[in-house]
């Protein structure tokens, strides 16, 4: 038994099922990520982190807990990472971007529920995710109905705490949300038995802001045309940002950005003089869900921006670090999160405006809207987004899919036809 096997077993992982999962990842990674040409050297770090996805980082979590720290799992970008960090915790985004044990999940959930929720429970029931097993607390939220009810199911298996996310952005919704942020802090303090002070919270805010600044810097560089980094690599970076150590990640993202700036200065790109620039919009693409991004980029285009929770929604907007006192700082945290443009809000004109802004700033040629089947918020909003983009003459392609590979051919045909439409050679 290897060192990791002992660790996994200690966490209650089903070693056999887990080995099966770990076997499929390297070929997937090879096909979607490593096979890309002319990748920046700075991606080596992220390749390494991914290769150790259930190894080294989990070991850090275990050590952190042995030292008295807590680990808190989240499912949504609405959950404040700085609160968890301030309480001395490690925050891990629990991804569920691959189909695991759907038959097991279907014993507790209906068949027609989004792939994200189904896989999340699948990972838990199949006992193959060392992250969820490392969590002292899971923080859910009342974003969509599916998740809301799912957390009740999950709560029977592990401690779950649920935040109430409002669905409007009116004054009293803001009040509710500010309260919810404080309630979460209180729950975290109860978990650790320690009160969070102003300086701890401020440090945490700074740490997470730094991470956001680095990720935003990377987004700026994606405006380069020809592109200096692929959309898949950028997606991988934000996927890893959900669970890697924030300070270390910030350094590595900044190092990657330094390199990309040099590339840009030298006029070096990932290849091809100009590629059609695609904005990918819609549901989160949790690790290792690279299906649609790979289809787009192997068809000769580049994903130049992601309007997703595994993209700009995750790190846009900063918390005010200089807020005078605890109350002001907590309000600033709450307000920052309420700016996230999730499809669960109504009315939601802000999200459409944001998409239009991104289309302009990133000189986008076409929008690919990715919705998980059975996800009401995103599938319904697709119509309105399409209507608005049509007014601007921006081609729009709607893809409703899940984690399976059976529709890859059909999706490719549609994506390639879109790329032909915006005028490029079919490089596939």
């Amino acid at each position: 038994m290897s060192e990791y096997d002992v660790m996994w077993e200690g966490l209650g992982i089903d070693l056999e099922a887990h080995a099966g999962l770990l076997e499929v990842l390297p070929p997937m990674y090879q096909e979607n990520i490593l096979s890309q040409e002319n990748r920046p050297r700075g991606m080596e770090y992220f390749d390494f982190v991914f290769s150790e996805v259930h190894g080294l980082r989990v070991k850090e979590l275990v050590e952190h807990r042995e030292g008295g720290g807590v680990v808190v799992g989240t499912f949504c970008t609405y959950v404040s990472e700085e609160l968890i960090v301030a309480a001395g915790g490690i925050c891990v985004g629990l991804c569920a971007g691959a189909q695991v044990a759907p038959e097991e999940a279907e014993k507790h959930l209906p068949r027609n529920i989004c792939a994200l929720i189904k896989s999340s429970l699948g990972f838990k029931l199949a006992k193959v995710c060392p992250y969820i097993e490392s969590c002292d607390l899971l923080v859910g939220e009342t974003t969509c109905d599916g998740k809301k009810k799912y957390f009740e199911v999950l709560g029977e298996l592990q401690p779950v705490y649920v935040m109430e996310v409002p669905q409007m952005k009116l004054e009293h919704d803001r009040d509710l949300w500010r309260l919810e942020v404080r309630r979460l802090l209180a729950r975290l303090e109860e978990l650790t038995g320690k009160k969070v002070g102003l300086e701890e919270l401020r440090d945490a805010v700074r740490l997470i802001n730094e991470k956001r600044r680095a990720l935003l810097r990377l987004e700026e560089l994606r405006k380069s045309d020809p592109p200096v980094i692929s959309g898949r690599d950028a997606l991988l970076v934000s996927q890893i940002a959900f669970y890697d150590d924030p300070a270390r990640l910030t350094d590595k993202v900044n190092a990657l950005c330094d390199e990309l700036e040099e590339r840009k200065a030298r006029g070096e790109s990932i290849g091809g003089a100009h590629r059609p620039r695609i904005l990918l919009s819609g549901c989160p693409m949790a690790l290792p869900n690279w299906k649609v991004a790979t289809i787009i980029e192997t068809s000769g285009a580049v994903v130049a921006m992601d309007e997703m929770c595994t993209g700009i929604r995750y790190f846009d907007n900063l918390v005010d670090e200089d807020a005078a006192d605890m109350e002001a700082l907590l309000d600033s945290i709450a307000d920052r999160y309420l700016k996230i443009h999730c499809a669960i809000f109504t009315p939601n004109g802000e999200r459409v405006e944001h998409i239009k802004e991104l289309v302009r700033d990133y000189r986008i040629d076409a929008v690919v809207y990715y919705a998980l089947q059975f996800c009401d918020p995103y599938t319904v909003e697709a119509f309105g987004v399409q209507r608005e983009l049509e007014k601007l003459g921006i081609p729009f392609l709607y893809l409703e899919t899940d984690y399976s590979a059976e529709d890859v051919e059909q999706l490719s045909t549609r994506v390639q036809a879109l790329i032909e439409m915006v005028g490029s050679e079919d490089k596939a």
Binding site: E400, E420, D426
Partner: protein, 247 residues
């Protein structure tokens, strides 16, 4: 200069030869379990300056003998625009896919819609239903025209519709009525896809299913426009592929 266009679909493979922008020759064979071998036979003793592939098997073709690929969407747009320069809307019902395409006046693709992964409303659907009734597709199309009465087929899922048809037969429903209902169902599906891209004249109906007279009649009635049908609707994709080489 002879240019080849190869359209490898799920049911049929079409090869055409285009010279000076004109269709010189074309042939359609079944895809079978060995499309590569079928292509090789089609291509034997033909030589092209350029060979462009389209359809489901385009990547397979490119890996083996084709110089370039384009999607079926673009191929049908090019082919239909060449045959009918005024054409603004295209319906293509193939073996496994149904596509609605709208064209800009200059023939470029302005918008398109494709059915999702299921086979509802495609040639495959017709094939399964014909088999359930013990008929060939041509026979089913013919008897559907014999009646105005139809039974409502409530499911568009190929699997459920098949059991629905079996049930209707068991209850003694006349076959022409069932056949008519099935064609109506496909017609509904195609019309809703077309409406999503907007129906503008002229409308071309292409792909293998365009040979079905009942569906043609129903669509014309529903859309209230005459449909333009290519002489050989199965060759349009291959022709468009070949024409793309001239662009």
């Amino acid at each position: 200069m002879a240019i080849g266009g190869l359209d490898i679909g799920s049911r049929t493979i079409a090869l055409v030869e285009v010279e000076d922008g004109e269709l010189r020759w074309g042939k359609v064979v079944a895809t079978t379990f060995d499309p590569l071998e079928q292509c090789r036979q089609l291509l034997a003793d033909r030589s092209f300056e350029v060979l462009v592939a389209t359809g489901y098997g385009r990547h397979l073709a490119q890996a083996n003998f084709a110089d370039r690929t384009i999607t079926e969407i673009k191929a049908f747009a090019l082919g239909c625009h060449r045959l009918f320069p005024e054409c603004r809307t295209i319906l293509d019902i193939g073996g496994q896919d149904t596509k609605a395409i709208s064209l800009a006046p200059d023939g470029r693709v302005a918008d398109f819609q494709m059915n999702d992964r299921c086979a509802a409303g495609t040639g495959k659907f017709l094939e399964v239903m014909a088999a359930a009734m013990g008929l060939t597709i041509d026979e089913m199309g013919r008897i559907a025209l014999e009646t105005e009465a139809e039974v409502k087929i409530s499911s568009m899922c190929t699997v459920f519709a098949e059991s629905e048809v079996t049930g209707l037969i068991a209850r003694g429903t006349p076959r022409p009525e069932i056949a008519r209902g099935l064609h109506e169902a496909i017609c509904d599906r195609a019309v809703s896809l077309l409406k999503r891209v907007g129906v503008e004249r002229e409308v071309v109906f292409a792909g293998g299913v365009a040979r079905n007279p009942c569906l043609r009649a129903l669509l014309e009635r529903r859309l209230k426009v005459p449909l333009l049908i290519p002489e050989d609707p199965q060759l349009v994709g291959a022709m468009g592929a070949a024409l793309s080489a001239l662009q």
